[in-house]
Amino acid sequence: MKYDGRNYQELDAKLQGRCRESRKIGNHTYAQRRNRYSKEGVIAILLHNTDILSFYPNGDIKVNTGGWHTVTTRARMNDYLPRPYTVSGYGRGRTMLYNGNGWDNPLSAVDDSVLIKADGSTEGGGNALDVIAEVKREKLEAVRPRNRARYWINKVREGKPSPKLTVATILEEENQTVRLAMMRVFGFERFILDSGAKVIDQKADYELLELPLDRWNVLRALKMKCSTTGAVYINQVPPHCHEVPSALDWMFDTKDYLGQVTQQT
């Protein structure tokens, strides 16, 4: 049931006779006269309860999403907007108004409503360039950590060292998964020793080290020194290990490691 009126005069011509006040023009869509007793004489395209387009006798057109940035809203708008004007979705929950100058060159952002004046100028819409920049920034922010994670996890799988990687670079990385992958590539033992992890418990030749991962999570590792060779070993333990004995018991799945061990090298 497509209605072919694309300006005020055409719509006015269609709203005659018994359909003078309202005429159904599509699913849940009506052309209706507004301000019947005033001189304004606006004709609106009503979708559900929203006047998505309002045609003024002077040639102005008000485009209004009413906050409903949906496919149907945009489809109905495109059905009844006079050419060259069209609307299209842009990013998530945004609608842009175009005037035929290409998809890269929108006329205005339809935040809620925008008025297209008879002379072709617009009033009340958002700045299209700001919206484009914002959407671009959002997309980049969403994609960047994923790309970085993919890159560094592949490096972990390859098992090749990355000479450019430094402790400072790893600590600067804001994404936790990416940072952990970078630590693995750098060498976990080397990273723990070089990054100045805090000693939270110490017993005999053992030290329990802690490194904050973010505001809530910490990474804990047990530093062990071989009594015979003097070599240092680092073993990652889960964050619930708060002391050296509990870390050792977790490592070897024992009850009282320090109390029972008689010989260790």
Binding site: P238, D253, T265
Partner: protein, 107 residues
């Protein structure tokens, strides 16, 4: 308990499971293989002890030491002496923060 690097020997009075004594004897006396470095934890004298290992990671392992005792050797650690008896072998585990899971240490 006696520890050499990542390997812990716990004396036990339990008998070594039959499935290990029948099929799990390690003829080379290797208690734990060094996957990364190639350095093994192994018994110094094959006549003084027997090593029984299940074939899968995390499976049970035992060492049966005869009356004369045995020493366990490794390239990076000093030897440890195991007196006579049966020992359950445990491998140290570590927590992998990237995978958010525990795994057995690898030499």
């Amino acid at each position: 308990m006696i520890r050499q690097g990542d390997v812990l020997f716990i004396p036990t009075t339990d008998a070594i499971p039959e499935y290990l004594t029948e099929r799990g004897k390690n003829e080379k006396g290797i208690v734990m293989e060094g996957e990364a470095t190639g350095h093994h934890h192994r018994i110094a004298n094959l006549e003084a002890a027997e090593v029984f290992r299940s074939g899968w990671a995390g499976g049970e392992s035992f060492v049966r030491v005869s009356d004369q005792g045995v020493s366990i050797v490794h390239e990076e650690h000093a030897p440890v002496q195991l007196p006579a008896g049966n020992y359950r072998v445990k491998i140290a585990r570590e927590y992998d923060y990237l995978a958010n899971a525990a795994r057995f240490s690898r030499d």
